[in-house]
Amino acid sequence: MLEIELCGRLADVGGALAQIAIPENGCSVAELFGLIAQQHPALAHPLVSGRVRACVNETIVTPDARVMAGDEVALFPPVSGG
């Protein structure tokens, strides 16, 4: 199981944390998005928008990056400071 933090408006849809079952040897971020959409259908819509980025161990990563159990994973909807 991977615990994923949902940031910003994503928490309104899926709660602050989502538990996702992932393959034992990990998966890519793109695959993770697919698993999240399956296991938490409410998150499917924002995830297919192409505007959500994954942050793994405090680094924003591309869809081909790999995640493993134990990684600190967060989903970032579009950001805005100021």
């Binding site: 933090e5 940031c7 910003g8 408006r9 309104d12 942050c55 405090e58 680094t59 924003i60 967060a74 970032f76 909807p77 579009p78 950001v79 805005s80 400071g81 100021g82």
Partner: protein, 153 residues
């Protein structure tokens, strides 16, 4: 050459920050500051009780530092100061403060402008306006994206 960047969890005073920044100058001729304040009304006129900014661990501060470093590299400025609130902000309170110093004024103006455009579109914050009966997430506007686009050559 120095950039000082802070993620603030409490109210701060822009005048005090400008004073400290000015005090630390080493003979620069030009200082520009920008302060963004929380508004008391939404675009549709509805009253806002608070602006709430969420940040994420070290990533938010790192995103602010990257923007400040880009500005130092890109413009002929000698110092910059960036302070950004996180958490619950009452109307009128400062959300963000940026100051830049340079020998000649054009660089200080452009760098402050650039930093703000980048903070609006790239700094890792999520913000929402809260009123007693609703909360509304705010994302960068098309104007914010167009502003940020000006710096791409």
């Amino acid at each position: 050459m120095s950039a000082e960047v802070t993620l603030a969890t409490k109210e701060f005073d822009p005048a005090e920050l400008l004073g400290a920044f000015t005090h630390g100058l080493g003979g620069e001729g030009a200082v520009v500051s920008f302060t963004g304040h929380a508004r008391g009304a939404a675009k549709d006129g509805a009253a806002i009780e608070a602006l709430v900014l969420e940040s994420y661990r070290g990533v938010t501060l790192a995103s602010m530092k990257a923007i400040a470093a880009d500005a130092m590299a890109r413009f002929d400025i000698s110092r910059c100061r960036v302070v950004h609130r996180t958490g619950r902000i009452a109307p009128g309170e400062a959300i963000v403060f940026v100051a830049t110093a340079s020998a000649h004024r054009r660089a200080a103006f452009e760098a402050a402008d650039f930093i703000m455009d980048r903070l609006k579109t790239e700094a890792v914050f999520w913000k929402r306006e809260e009123s007693p009966d609703r909360k509304r997430w705010i994302e960068p506007t098309s104007g914010d994206h167009a502003d940020a686009q000006r710096w791409q050559e």
